[in-house]
Amino acid sequence: METIIEVKDLVKVFHSRGRKITAVNDVSFDVFKGEIFGMIGPNGAGKSTIFSMLTTLIKPTNGSIKVAGFDADKEDDKIRPIIGIVPQKLSLYPDLTARENLELMGKLYSVPKKLMEERIDHYLQLVGLGSHADRFAGGFSGGMKQRLSVICAVLHDPQIIFWDEPSTGLDPQTRQAIWKLARKFNGEGKTLVFTTHYMEEADNLCDRVAVMNLGKMVALDTPENLKERSGSTNLEEVFIHLTGEEVRD
């Protein structure tokens, strides 16, 4: 399988009030082109830090990341146009309409105007927001915001979509709709990288799952293999087995 993301010996250390905090400790993995890759782990496991490094928002302390062959440290300007990001905070301008939010992203990704307008109409219809295009995003429900946030990330037709906690706080219907959307994008050949707290989501959606704990990667395999290896019937048991029962801050 063709590798699209290569992570080698990744370390991220933060310094806070004289304390050294190792958020990510010597993590290596590959993501294959066209797969849905999930990262799961309790709070403080290092998922979001890895997510920020993969999306070029922060730089690693040590180690290397290559996305589509580009070095995340030195060639972040080549990576950004080919990735789409759905952040955990939905990050929409509340005083802009849905269409204006989309236009802003389209322009910042330099999508040609005509193509951008076609895609905006197409995606708004696809996620059921066609009749809400000219409403302010601030007045949207959580589910509507999530759907708008997703299409903001794909307007420039990225090769890879990074998706932080896709269905946190959503009702079952919206969650199903989001999963359907994820499968659709994956069916179009896009690679998806998720972080999630929901084992059901990882089990249903992901081709492979990386389990993170305390900054380290403790397992990486398909959901089926992970379950088989630990003799569990569901991914939640595997998760508890690998990361322990202790509640994290």
């Binding site: 802003l104 992203m105 910042l108």
Partner: protein, 368 residues
């Protein structure tokens, strides 16, 4: 990334900022109306006292009457006592135009010209006229000086005082308006830049923008262009309101006013960015903003001349950039002076802009 794309990205951010502003109707009213209200309210009836005001006495008289007059002026402490009201420098053989140039340069608040025949005419009980030139760009201080002098000479019978208005017929409002514009631009650029970034941090939108191919440089440039346009529009509205509503006099160059405001806005934007990098939400930003900008409003001589405040307050004022913006704006708008008269102010304001802007860009780039 090429410059053209960077500029295109910056302009997209600028347009987005304006579009967001147009949706915040509740913000538009205070943004444009607050400074106008301030001018109207403060423009009537501000008083004050003066101490140590620098005065030049050009004494061409050799008699004793002028000596007694000078002694009287030098020892005057005002009705509440304390330090002398005037700090006097003496000279002789100076023309009126030369004396005016000393006021233009900001060395003296007033120049009193005593004619050669002052003592002689006073001895013969003949009428004699003295000329008092004042820096009427500082209406509070000169108002007090003129009142004192008029009272002094009214006690001396045949002596009359000629007070030419070298900058025209000015009122407190003329003193106030240039500084209120500087204050408005300062508080506006710091608050709107900082709160916008703090708000975008709070709702995560800034992170989303920074994840796109747009450079941090382009984001900052876009926000800065927006601020420059917005603050210049505010200043123009304010000047027009002051002109049409309360009869403000503009004696100087609009271009110089714009230059000062552009440099000062850059400093304000830089300061707003620096402050926004220190907080994570809008509420914290507004607390910090109050702490940083409010003292400037009261200490830097916006509402009263620095000559009327205690020394310690004046020393603090000299550390605050608004003091220099106020001085530059008054020198241009009231005195009608050119670039050379505000060169020191411009150097200090440029340094302020350079330091805050560089720090802002550095911290903003490092933060995310």
């Amino acid at each position: 990334m090429d410059v053209r794309t960077e500029l295109q990205h910056s302009w997209i951010i600028t347009v987005k900022e304006f579009r967001q502003l147009s949706r915040k109707k509740a913000l538009m009213v205070p943004l444009f109306l607050f400074p106008i209200i301030m001018i109207i309210f403060f423009g009537y009836g501000m008083g004050g006292t003066v101490k140590d005001a620098p005065i030049l006495i050009v004494n061409d008289d050799t008699g004793t009457a002028s000596n007694s007059l000078i002694q009287h002026i030098g020892s005057y402490t005002g009705k509440y006592g304390g330090e002398p009201m005037f700090s006097i420098t003496y000279t002789k053989d100076m023309s009126q135009s030369k004396a005016e140039s000393k006021i233009d340069a900001g060395w003296y608040k007033a120049v009193l010209l005593i004619p050669p025949d002052y003592s002689e005419k006073l001895a013969k009980n003949e009428s004699v006229t003295l000329i008092l030139l004042t820096d009427s760009s500082d209406t509070t201080t000169t108002g007090i000086i003129v009142n004192y002098m008029k009272q002094l000479f009214s006690e001396r019978g045949s002596v009359s005082l000629n007070v030419p208005n070298i900058y025209g017929d000015l009122e407190y409002l003329d003193f106030l308006t240039p500084a209120v514009i500087a204050l408005t631009i300062f508080m506006g650029s710091v608050a709107t830049t900082g709160s916008a970034i703090a708000g975008e941090k709070q709702d995560g939108t800034i992170v989303r923008i920074l994840m796109t191919p747009v450079s941090r440089r382009a984001v900052i440039l876009g926000k800065t262009i927006y601020q420059l346009i917005l603050q210049l529009i505010r200043a123009a509205i304010l000047i027009m309101a002051a002109y049409f509503l309360v009869g403000f006099h503009m004696n100087g160059s609009w271009l110089l006013v714009a230059l000062v405001l552009v440099i000062f806005t850059l400093g304000g934007v830089g300061m707003g960015i620096v402050m926004s990098t220190r907080v994570n939400d809008m509420e914290s930003f507004f607390q910090l903003n109050m702490l940083v900008t409010l003292p400037s409003m009261f200490i830097t001589g916006v509402f009263f001349p620095l000559s009327s405040v205690p020394d310690w307050m004046r020393y603090i004022a000299y550390l605050l950039p608004l003091t220099y913006a106020n001085d530059a704006m008054r020198t241009i708008m009231i005195k009608g002076q050119g670039l050379s008269a505000i060169s020191t102010d411009l150097i200090i304001l440029s340094l302020f802009a350079l330091i805050t802007f560089t720090a802002g860009v550095h911290l903003f780039r490092r933060e995310a």
